[in-house]
Symmetry: C2
Subunit: 305 residues, 2 copies
């Protein structure tokens, strides 16, 4: 039997756990409400234990988590959630209890870096060495790869908190980021749309002016990411991007804002293949966790050679 991997998509409202080999072979999965850390982590561990008789032990576990996280391998709090405002969850050790329960390699990264790795392995980022995965939903987060490796650096990217031009006359809405007010997340996240217009995004018609404004902000963010990282592709996921009318609006605004300064066919001519939805759709998160498990297993295997 092929190797199986455990994946945990650890979100602020729910944890999805799955046992899988790859997208075509997901053997079991479950959904756990995010309550207290101890209870939530315990339920996740029990899920994997309860399937051991049927499938045997998994080869590794991957956790793609909401953040911010401590990802520094040599830090005493490696594997912890750090300063999250989510009640009860600040300074929670995520990796420790899982490693203790299973004595297995545990891959751990941000939800967006996990999704990026899954997209690189099986989805829309295949063949790209440098790309960005951005999710626009209840928050805005971004991850990605440079030279075929996930970006970590000092902490991890926080692409939702880019500062962008905000035309107060056109849009007097002050933004909802508790830290920065009108950063990208403050202006363009799902709850910002709802706070500005008094209706949830899915209640606004596709020709509502909300979407031109949303596309303007997202395009400004993407232009900044293009100038910082020069990605070969940009994947946009998350609940807000289920409003598919956004894609053509964003693509056009990115071209207008760059104004042919960056001489690349991918942007100037083929932008429909440059700014794209995730290939793994709504499964990008959990498959990202499986991809992190696979990566952890392969790093572990190499270290034994």
């Amino acid at each position: 039997m092929a190797k199986l991997f455990g994946g945990i998509e650890a979100g602020g409202t729910k944890w999805i756990c799955a046992i899988a080999e790859n997208p075509a072979n997901i053997h079991a999965s479950t959904r756990i409400s995010t309550t207290h850390p101890e209870e939530t982590i315990k339920k996740a561990i029990e899920f994997f234990q309860s399937h051991e008789a049927e499938f045997g032990a998994v080869a590794a576990v991957g956790v793609a988590s909401f953040g911010p996280l401590d990802l520094k391998p040599d830090s005493p709090t490696y594997g912890y959630l750090t300063t999250t405002p989510k009640p009860g969850w600040a300074n929670t050790d995520i990796v420790g209890p899982i490693q203790e329960a299973f004595n297995l390699p545990v891959g751990f990264d941000t939800d967006v870096n996990g999704a990026a790795l899954g997209e690189a392995q099986w989805g829309a980022a295949q063949g790209a060495s440098d790309f960005i995965y951005l999710t626009i939903g209840t928050g805005i987060g971004g991850g990605g790869m440079v030279n075929n490796a996930l970006i970590h650096g000092l902490v991890h990217p926080e692409m939702g908190h880019l500062r962008i031009p905000h035309d107060w006359e056109q849009d007097p809405f002050p933004g909802i980021c508790p830290y920065h007010g009108d950063c990208l997340e403050g202006l363009a996240t799902g709850p910002a749309i709802e706070a500005r217009w008094g209706l949830k995004g899915e209640q606004l018609p596709p020709d509502h002016p909300a979407w031109e404004l949303e596309a303007q902000y997202l395009a400004l963010g993407l232009v900044n990411l293009v100038c910082s990282l020069s990605p070969q592709r940009i994947i946009l996921g998350g609940g807000v991007m289920e409003q598919e009318q956004l894609f053509p609006l964003i693509r056009r605004r990115v071209q207008e804002l760059l104004n042919n300064y960056i001489s690349a066919e991918e942007i100037q001519q083929d932008i429909d293949d440059y700014i794209i939805p995730p290939g793994l759709g709504t499964q990008a998160g959990i498959l990202g966790a499986i991809a992190l498990a696979r990566q952890a297993a392969s790093v572990h295997d190499r270290s034994l050679k």
Copy 2:
């Protein structure tokens, strides 16, 4: 005798050529005015040829060039300057004639990626796997490393062209970027300072309000780079940064703008060691070219094994 390397810092107004082993051992150097491409390249080649009798052939040549450049190894125009507005220089093959003259490995990258590599090897970026090198002078350019490798991606970063908030009431100056008006470069480059205040930066006293405004724009740019790339260090070079009063102003504004969102001692406590001048000073450019030559030689050596 230790291996010697040839370096060319190819700028829009001058080319600096040097024969060196490392910063402590620069055996010869020259300065060539940037006239027509053919003449300029020919003079650079002649410089290296004229020293062959004395030092023997160099092991490789590195070119750190103004851009934009074609850096895709498999492109038919690899090694070319592409869409530069500099008269006569658009679509100029830089690498071809040098390779033809010497039949040696030629390293080729942007001036800022070259400087970043030099800083990584011998300067202020030693020990950092992820960092940014930004130059603020007649233009603004940025390069850097992620996971110990230079960032290239689709083309190469264009960090000068980040879009940042511009308070038109406080600063009605429209910006001077011919492509984007008030992008970072449009607002904060040396010529923008001169156009806004009617005096060159070096003619403005250190307590002139120009510097608070300059620090505000540069800090907004840096915050965006921190959110995109999560660098472990940021090196700021170029003529404008010779105004040393800018460093404390920029550091304070970066902290204020991030507002403790990014939980990292390096930013919250030790920002004096986080946003820093180049370790190689005004030699960062030419030593970057030497570092590119060393890298090219070592890639070449590995390919022979």
